[in-house]
Chain length 230, copies 2
């Protein structure tokens, strides 16, 4: 029997990523920019939530968006059309954003002129949860049609997120067979500190609680009520 060594590649990669995330976090802190990392499955409503958030907050805050996408640039085009500067990270098949990619994007943004950066991560409930981007807060969306069992299947993302937006509430009680009590118990067992928001990006229901939370987080990150809304 010859010698055998084991290298845990993922551990090494995550450790490198952690170092780069810390650099991003410091860059954001120096510029007093609040960054939120928005994660979800494809179709959960990430772009809709971002467009709504832009509409509600763009008078009070200077916003930039980083759009992660495997192949297209359609989401970044929608965001830019809404009047907010966007950087599109086309991953070319990669299933998540990492801190190095975010560092590339931050270099393209005028951080001194921004209060809030929203990162739309690649649509995927698995890998994005593993990678710290240097964000202030992680947020995720779970939409009603995806089912109440998702915390059982993808526990990591539900465990690490700071905010959980439950979207497409308008489906509840209709076609969707979604047990909200069981779902909330599953969330509670994974994450005792998560803030939850029940919303519908279609009807507008509940969205003010989400934007209110975001306003408070941005203000506390900037150390005071931002000058622009004083």
């Amino acid at each position: 029997m010859a010698e055998m060594r084991l290298i845990d590649v993922k551990k090494e990669i995550l450790s490198d990523n952690q170092a780069r995330a810390a650099e991003n976090r410091e860059l954001l802190r120096r510029n007093r920019v609040f960054m939120v990392n928005l994660m979800a499955s494809p179709g959960a409503g990430k772009t809709s939530l971002i467009l709504h958030t832009i509409r509600e907050l763009q008078e009070a805050f200077r916003i930039g968006v980083i759009e992660g996408d495997i192949a297209s640039a359609v989401d970044a085009e929608k965001v830019a059309a809404a009047g907010v500067p966007a950087v599109q990270l086309r991953t070319g098949g990669f299933c998540h954003l990492d801190a190095t990619m975010i560092s590339m994007a931050l270099q393209e943004m005028e951080l001194a002129k921004l209060d809030l950066v929203i990162v739309e991560n690649v649509g995927n409930l698995v890998c994005p949860a593993e990678f710290d981007l240097g964000e202030n807060k992680k947020a995720m969306i779970l939409s009603i049609p995806e089912g109440d069992d998702k915390p059982l299947k993808y526990p990591l993302m539900f465990s690490v997120t700071d905010a959980l937006v439950i979207n497409k509430m308008d489906y509840l009680g209709g076609e969707a067979d979604f047990d909200m009590t069981a779902f909330m118990a599953r969330i509670q067992s994974l994450n005792q500190t998560v803030r939850t928001f029940k919303v519908s990006c279609k009807t507008g229901e509940g969205l003010e609680s989400w934007t209110h939370w975001l306003r408070d987080e941005i203000a506390s990150c900037r150390g005071a009520v931002p000058e622009t809304i004083q």
Copy 2:
């Protein structure tokens, strides 16, 4: 319409990888080590081919193996049991090896005491083809039960490989509906310089042509017939 910028992440990653691959290649050259990067789908016979190659060549050459695997270490254990030092790269979900991972593995090996390093890439016909590891030659296996249409579906790997081992030839004419003439025409249209070897790791058929090719490549890499077989 605000400004929108596009960053092609994959291009940046591949460019970084290329630089690291060049470092690996230089390290191997200085140590007169020949490295082959073996790619294939899961179950095509990578580990069987490696074990056969070890048996045939370990008297003539000093061999080391780098085993890429998503989760387990079983292949590295088989290789070590065959008397050859092995480094297991556990990728933790990543679908390919890259030059940085290979650099980690090469640092764990006594290159001055080796003639041949065989890399068993992660089982996948897509991503491994994109990443130069710094190897001298790329080799791939296509097994008969996988079907003759694979060059149409995964053209990149068939285009970039230096050697193509067609394994499980014992299935031909039996259950397998494999049109060898059509398959070879597809290969020819993608890659005019590829060396092909029709083998069966089960019956041993054709394997001497593969090991003969490998002997010649190692010898030419070392600049002469290796001392150990003079």
